[in-house]
Symmetry: C2
DNA sequence: CGGGATGTTGATGGCAGTCAAGCTCGGTGG
DNA sequence: CCACCGAGCTTGACTGCCATCAACATCCCG
């Protein structure tokens, strides 16, 4: 009876979920999905609202259903580094850790599927497909983090900003490599600066520089960018 | 017969291995360990020798038995960032990826236990304990990488160098918090600079600055550091 | 002892941070 | 409909930190 109820729940909640194909739960089905579905609860966050604070007890994991969130680390004197951006389908949280080490904040109104951490870990042990998928994703995240360490440690401001725009283009399209396209910047200048390890002013100056080079034009108060020539951007992102 | 042979192999190769307790294989035993043991081969690397090149086919994973290795990412114009250091017991490689994205180089003469990647992935599916342990480690690595993104993006040279020395102290001792202790720097100034996203000269200057502040003294051509007061170091690493 | 590699110290310049003023755009209310 | 307001973005002037280039010191090893 219970299992049948769980399956029903899984059917209604998960099988028609907006991120069924892309989230970590996409790799599992049947009773495993039912178990996971059973511990998941939806939660909305308003823009600017914090999901977890660094230093607090690590109580939850989640999947992003809609919206954009930032993962940040901060120094004692209040400087902030965005160490990751989360989009629909991305996994949130750090299983196996008693304490949260990063702060997670919604950048836009967001919708999450939340799992209590310890129960999620238990499901992880029972559903091999889920554990495998999470391992894959964590490996990818680690690789992304390391690529970004290269940027933060070695690249100049121009390379960082140009590279960021190239990444935006790649995210925007599904593989179509148009020479020019319009992308909207999903974050404020301040967040862009925190992401790139620069200041707002430096980011702004680099963008006007790109405008002067005829690589881009800015609209919607700088929140939408028409990339006129991706080749120029790519060249500036990787000089020599 | 084959299984018994494998068990014997596991006994002789793994059960008395120097990193039996600390490596990723420490979490498994019995037939799983036998399977893993069966695909593992020892390999020595001389200092400076490269294990894997970024861009090459991703053919292997490994455990570090002895020695120190660096994981590096590089820009097109040849700038290098050390994105991770590997010590005895650490796991090397990126399962589930067809291509190596990072270069792994031995900093000292090293001894590895190498697994062909695809066979390692197969074992991963059969030994839940191994997969779980690898997930835990990857989560920790991701967290380390993110902490370091904070350093590379936000901290000044003095904070980076002082923080590096504090980390060295924590690695050196097993929890004993002496106010002063001698640690040896396992890497050259050049590697230290690449690790911290600075130049050799800046690292050197910061060290002499710490010497002037009476926080440390240098010996053995700067390769051994007597930390006279960790409190000073900690304070410089986290100002305000 | 001598030579090469590694580390330190010095002089200089450029890039990005800081502080401060002005601008743009979207929203609100008269 | 338009004037106003405030948040976010841009631009400008200046400073300071760290990279660069270059010389020198030190250590290790033959």
């Amino acid at each position: 009876m219970w299992n049948i109820h769980a399956m029903m729940t899984a059917n209604s909640r998960c099988l028609d979920c907006a991120v069924r194909e892309t989230a970590v739960c996409g790799g599992i089905d049947g009773s495993d999905l039912a178990t996971l579905s059973d511990i998941g609860r939806r939660r909305q966050l308003a823009a600017g609202q914090v999901l977890t604070w660094a230093g607090d007890a690590n109580l939850l994991c989640a999947s992003v259903v809609t919206g954009i969130l930032k993962v940040t680390a901060s120094t004692a004197n209040g400087r902030e580094q965005i160490v990751g951006l989360l989009f629909a389908g991305d996994f949130v949280g750090q299983p196996f850790s008693e304490e949260s080490t990063m702060t997670v904040t919604a950048l836009t109104a967001s919708d999450l599927c939340i799992y209590p951490r310890e129960r999620f870990e238990r499901v992880l042990g029972e559903a091999p497909g889920l554990e495998r998928e999470l391992l894959r994703r964590t490996m990818r995240s680690l690789n992304d983090a390391r690529e970004r360490m290269l940027t933060l440690g070695q690249r100049g401001a121009q390379e960082r900003v140009a590279g960021f725009l190239v990444d935006l283009c790649e995210r925007a399209e599904g593989g179509i490599s148009e020479r020019s396209l319009t992308v909207d910047v999903p974050v404020s200048r301040g967040d862009m600066a925190d992401y790139l390890g620069l200041t707002i002013e430096t980011v702004s100056r680099q963008l006007t520089r790109l405008k002067a080079l005829d690589a881009i034009t800015l609209t919607r108060a700088g929140r939408s960018i028409l990339v006129k020539d991706r080749m120029i951007l790519a060249a500036l992102a990787n000089p020599d």
